[in-house]
């Protein structure tokens, strides 16, 4: 791990824009290893073309977010997280 790593709170704004609510306390379960953490506690990579939230145990991708000038898109791979609105997929 290095200085580029933040926690999932770094994605709070983008997630609130998508879901219309604070998502950082929502629990997310890794589809690969089963580890459960609140979204705000996931490992976040934000110095990239998008935001990537990964499992704290096995680094599997749990959520990806890309913000383009016209829309924000999300790909949820973790379990337990409510499905995002159709317009953000």
């Amino acid at each position: 791990m290095d200085e580029l790593v933040l926690d999932g709170n770094a994605a709070a704004g983008a997630l609130a824009e998508i879901y219309g609510d604070d998502m950082t306390t929502v629990l997310a379960e890794c589809a690969s290893c089963g580890r459960v953490d609140p979204i705000g506690g996931l490992v976040a990579f934000v110095h990239a073309p998008g935001i990537v939230l990964r499992c704290t145990a096995c680094a599997t991708v749990m959520i990806r977010i890309v913000q383009t000038p016209s829309r924000t898109r999300i790909d949820v791979r973790a379990k337990r997280i409510p499905p995002p609105p159709e317009t953000a997929r």
Binding site: G50, T68, R73
Partner: protein, 206 residues
């Protein structure tokens, strides 16, 4: 921008005139440092087990160990690079193996038209095959005369300098030849399948 106090007596390189003009794609700004972008943790490859592989629509896959890869004919490349996050860096110096050299070791199926580059950590990116040919792309293992640092994709990264730099997959472990374009890690979530900086092909459908 006015530049007061510069006289004709100074003949050193000017930073933004001459050479740089016309080399910075639209919407980009010039940087002197080398920003590090990553979608995941930096893998630390074990060179004893590292391999580079060409697979997919080829008669027989080709695979090299690290030592074998380092014995392939290498070249020096000086290239301008542009990241979709809007920085451009001029005259970056690399050493590595041209993709042309790698493809000499396989018989390509005639239907091969696209490539997925795949990396340690699961990253993928898709590139039209012609963008990798004729000396345009290479697998680099040195930057500025030193072994390529892990944060910049070492031990080896793909470099496709004429496309946005997310196409230049860090920690690359192989190329998969395909008939159809298959969106990679960023392309599957809205980034452009082609990614030409001069056409500002940043996103798909925008």
């Amino acid at each position: 921008m006015p530049q007061p106090f510069i006289t004709r007596g100074f003949v050193g390189k000017r930073q933004d005139a001459g050479g740089a003009a016309g080399r910075i794609p639209p919407g980009q700004h010039l940087v002197k440092d080398f920003p590090v972008l990553s979608a995941g943790p930096t893998p630390r490859a074990d060179l004893r087990t590292w391999t580079f592989r060409i697979e997919g629509l080829v008669k027989e896959p080709a695979q090299w160990s690290w030592d074998e890869f380092r014995e392939l004919p290498a070249q020096d490349f000086t290239k301008d690079i542009s990241c979709v996050t809007k920085w451009t860096k001029l005259d970056t110096h690399w050493r590595g193996v041209s993709v042309d050299v790698l493809l000499e070791h396989v018989d390509l199926d005639r239907s091969a038209a696209f490539v997925t580059a795949f990396s340690d950590g699961g990253y993928t990116t898709n590139i039209p095959l012609p963008e990798l040919l004729n000396g345009q792309a290479f697998v680099a293992y040195e930057y500025d005369g030193k072994p390529l640092a892990p944060e910049h994709g070492g031990p080896a990264r793909l470099v496709v300098p004429q496309l946005y730099f997310w196409k230049s997959a860090k920690w690359v472990r192989g190329l998969r030849l395909m008939e159809r374009d298959q969106p990679g890690f960023w392309e599957s979530l809205g980034y452009n399948n082609h990614g030409d900086p001069w056409k500002e092909e940043r996103y798909s459908g925008d």
